[in-house]
Amino acid sequence: MRYIARRLLHGLLLLVGVSVLSFLFAELAPGDYFSELRNDPRVLPETVAALRAQYGLDRPLPVRYAAWVASVLRGDFGYSLAYNSPVGPLLWGRVRATLLLTGTATFLAWLIALPLGIWNATARGTWFDSVSRVVLSFLLAVPDLLLAIVFLMLAVETGYFPTGGMVSPGSERVEDVAWHLALPVAVLVLGMLPTLVRHVRASMAEVIDSPFALSARAQGIPRQRLLFRHLLPAAANPLISLAGFSLGTLLSASLLIEVVMGWPGLGPLFLEAIMARDFAVVLAVVILSASFLVAGNLLADILLYRMDPRIRMK
């Protein structure tokens, strides 16, 4: 319990640090949302100053940080100048869309990677292992960006799949969303799969080669039981960390693919905010994605602590 509390506090401090740093960095950045206006000869400098004052941009930094923290606690996450509304309501729909995409993809990728990795580890040296290693290595070298573009190209050519977006206009059905989901999820799964399988295979292979596995086999423990009751738990630690990381990147893994495939998630919103110098949205997305990453790692740490007595003893 004390361990969990300590880790929680650590994660919280980390997030506070990230937010302070990003705030400072945004402050040092040249230009803000109104700096484009300043170049416009039709707009008086006093008007710009008045606008800045109206949105509170002329207040000292600590005051603005305090105001921002208060608004985060209210769930508003600051005030977007480009959308002229609090950031929070803009975010939630986007977060849902991103989570739907990445959650499905991550789940499927693990569902394939676990059995495949275990199987490869037990079948080392056979043609099956060699073939799947070559294929996965090749997949690792194919950029997600290229995969996304090629898939879209195929979608246009065959007409079986929609070429972007999340729903067809006027349709609210689940099948429709699933149909739109298929291509981006496929790209994401293909992108995640090689790394996951490599890790599963490596950690299983190490355990299979260990002396305790040999002695367990000599005792005559059946193969299935040996693999899943004895070896898998022993190989689980690095995989739990990896799963934590997987969960942590749920918000951030699909940025490029969302942009290319027109998925209305956080990625396009973030990119538009960058182009428009809408720092409130940038800041909100950064904090949100950082909290996911921190939470994912935290979860993995706690899970490791619960599962592995060796860590508890330390």
Partner: protein, 283 residues
Amino acid sequence: MTRRTKIAAALVFLGILHGFVIFAGFLAPYPYAEQHREFPYSPPTPLFGARAPGFVFLLGTDAYGRDVFSRLLYGGRVSLFTGLLAAFLSLALGLALGTAAGFYGGWLDRLLMRGGELVMALPWLYLLLAVRAFLPLHITTVQAFFLLVAIIGGVGWVRPARLIRGVVLSARERGFVLAARGFGASNAYLIRRHILPLTLGVVLTQATVLIPQYILAEVALSFLGLGVAEPVPSWGNMLAEAQQYHALVEHWWMLAPGLAIIPVLLGYLLLADALLEKGVRRV
């Protein structure tokens, strides 16, 4: 194949690929910005038996009639060298900070590692984009190139620094280091002569991991319009043109920059695998 031949093969392969790009000025048939407006989206011409007016476009042309093959070579310069330079920067920073943290310990170690945790708390691509977001958007190509190198390299020092710190921590207590210290060796001498050589393995394997990752980062940033801008080609901004996928069905050669990344990444992957392979199998 032994580990040695694998490493040599990967290095030769990568050398050839980088050679293509370095000698782009010599190999490319056209300047990268030369437009043949009368041949937009012209398909690849065969090397022999090209019909009048006798332009040879090995990989076709883009919307402005610019030769895709020439642009591919010049664009590779930007993409590959961003990766190399940024990885060099990351490793140099990581080596300096990691060694300092591991060797001197104390408050310096705590400060650097806490700072590193802050950087690691952000998803990598978001961090890159956020840093880019806070910097000026409209800049010249040369500025953009060095800005990309600085951002990608500067953001990535944490992982190498942590690994190097680990190596230095264990090296500091090794017998010969303690002995040298006993003979009155200065800290600077110890680091230079005894500690740094031990970090070589980590630095090399990290380089093979970081360079391809950074090439992809450059491609992503330029693709999103935050990197090197037209008319100077980079594989990222060339791919951005291919994003009009409705046109792409007829103009498949616009995918060339994306396909060109594959052998490069594969080369680095093979190199990394060969480096990580254990020389002797443990019994």
